[in-house]
């Protein structure tokens, strides 16, 4: 075992964990002041609940056995986790325990991404039950598809370096499905609900950008040149996506906004996620630029779909994830990473076809199963907060606290 590899992947695990409080602040700045703690709590709580579930069975369902669709219970309750080094079906360059920890941080942030779409209106107990079910029934299987050599997406030849499909398309479609079940915020469309504290959102953006280096460059699962390439790609895509978003925003609304800079950067980070270890040269700049422009234009989707996707999870994560997953079919360069060769680099359309099928597979599975799970929770213990609780705000009604004392 190489100490350098282990040191980098362990560091990456810590960087990724930090993204969840970063996401919490990114979202919390955009909600109304009566729902700040509700939003922070939904994110922070995922660090508690999902970690324990991951140790119990989540990890095993994702990386046990070599089935096409889901793992098994071989590693449930930490069984053999300390002594196994080939979880994904090939021998890792780091200890199995490092891989367990690294993957756990992905499992934590993925359901947390959904909370932006359902801001201001989830009952806490319903949310807790929903993400527990979602993590085990949707996230673990999809992670298995994408990152276990037995999984059908891995097997098809489709590529997803750090979770464009497994995390962002998956959470983005799930967000759409949950919003369909719980409906819009009371007053949506009739009363203004502007962000209450954008400085928190800027802080969260900084933490997300910083943590994303672990997310993407750590996904090399060793400290090699591909990790370096992934880190540079991650940064350049975030930078160019910020510029792309701001240019379109300036043209369309007359101002380049702070929230636009943050949103554009995150859209670029999302889009480069599947591509991070497979592209090189100026490709990350083109991928980021396309993501910044297209994700801005995709903001109108929620209006067209008549859905209150409150903090634009569809436009940023679903559309951003789709852009990255599909553009990889064009930009993958086998001189960067021998695993993939896209349309622009002489690989023909094979990879592109695999990428589209992988994206469709995740969208259909996650969309349908999430809709069913959210409906079950809504019809049993209730997923949406009652009217009084929503009007009072989640901080007081769900947690008996206030973010700001008068």
């Amino acid at each position: 075992m190489d100490a350098g590899n282990n040191a980098w992947v362990l560091t990456s695990a810590a960087l990724i964990l930090f993204m969840t409080p970063g996401l919490a602040f990114f979202y919390a700045g955009m909600v109304r002041s009566k729902n700040v703690l509700g939003m922070l709590m939904q994110n922070i709580f995922a660090m508690g609940l999902i970690s324990v579930l991951w140790a119990f069975i989540g990890f095993s369902l994702a990386f046990g056995g070599d089935g096409n669709f889901v793992g098994n219970l071989d590693y449930a309750f930490m069984n053999d986790v300390a002594t196994t080094i080939d979880f994904p079906g090939f021998e890792l360059a780091v200890p199995g325990m490092t891989f367990f920890a690294f993957q756990m941080m992905f499992a934590i942030i993925t359901p947390a991404l959904i909370t932006g779409a359902t801001a201001d209106r989830l009952k806490f107990s319903g949310y807790a039950l929903f993400i527990a079910l979602w993590s085990l029934i949707v996230y673990s299987p999809v992670a298995h598809w994408v990152w276990d050599t037995g999984g059908w997406i891995f097997d098809s030849g489709a590529l997803d370096f750090a979770g464009g499909a497994a995390i962002h398309i998956n959470a983005g479609v799930a967000a759409l499905a949950v919003v369909m079940v719980v409906g819009p915020r009371r007053g949506h469309g009739s009363e203004p609900m502007p962000p209450h504290n954008l400085p928190l959102t800027v802080l969260g953006t900084g933490i997300l950008w910083f943590g994303w280096f672990g997310f993407n460059a750590g996904s090399a699962l060793l400290a090699d040149g591909i990790a370096s390439q992934a880190l540079v790609n991650t940064h350049l895509a975030a930078a160019s996506a910020m510029l792309g978003w701001l240019v379109v925003e300036k043209i369309k609304t007359g101002h380049a906004t702070t929230l636009g800079a943050c949103s554009g950067a995150v859209a670029g980070l999302v889009a480069i996620t599947p591509c991070a270890g497979f592209v090189g040269g100026l490709s990350p700049i083109w991928i980021g630029l396309i993501a910044g422009v297209v994700c801005y234009l995709a903001l109108g989707l929620k209006t067209a779909l008549k859905l209150d996707d409150s903090l634009d999870v569809i436009a940023v994560h679903l559309v951003g994830g789709l852009i990255g997953t599909i553009l990889l079919g064009f930009f993958a360069d086998d001189t960067v990473n021998a695993l993939g060769d896209g349309l622009f680099y002489g690989g023909g359309g094979e990879l592109l076809k695999d990428q589209v099928l992988a994206a469709l597979g995740v969208m259909v599975f996650s969309g349908v199963v999430t809709y069913i799970l959210a409906t079950i929770v809504q019809k049993t213990i209730g997923l949406r907060v009652d009217e009084d609780g929503e009007l009072t705000g989640l901080d007081q009604s769900q947690h008996a606290e206030s973010a700001y004392q008068p």
Partner: protein, 112 residues
């Protein structure tokens, strides 16, 4: 005795306070308030969506003065707070029936 209430632009507060102190005013109470008048609100844009913000932040001053000082105080505020642009605010004067200094129980002019 009269209560002078003035609504002014927030960035004018220090100028108004200094001018009033120079004019001999011994104390005042200040609060941050929101409201609208002819200035109306303004528009903010978040992720391409426009929000009309009707209530504009203002500062409200309350000063209790002897009847003879009212004109001086009002003139002083007007001079210090005016920018000539819409939204400079308003001043109104109301009668005060009784005033008590809590520490000493003094009343009337002695308590101002």
């Amino acid at each position: 005795m009269k209560l002078v209430t003035a609504i002014i632009k927030p960035f004018k507060l220090d100028e108004v306070k200094d001018a009033l102190k120079s004019a001999g005013v011994a104390g005042m109470t200040v609060g941050e308030v929101r409201g609208f008048g002819r200035q109306g609100g303004h528009t903010e844009t978040y992720r391409g969506a426009e929000y009309k913000i009707d209530f504009v932040p203002k500062v409200q001053l309350e000063i209790v003065v002897d009847d003879g000082q009212v004109d001086l105080v009002v003139d002083t505020i007007v001079r210090a707070a005016a920018t000539g642009k819409i939204g400079d605010g308003k001043i109104w004067i109301t009668d005060v029936d009784r005033i008590v200094r809590i520490r000493t129980s003094e009343e009337g002019t002695d308590a101002v």
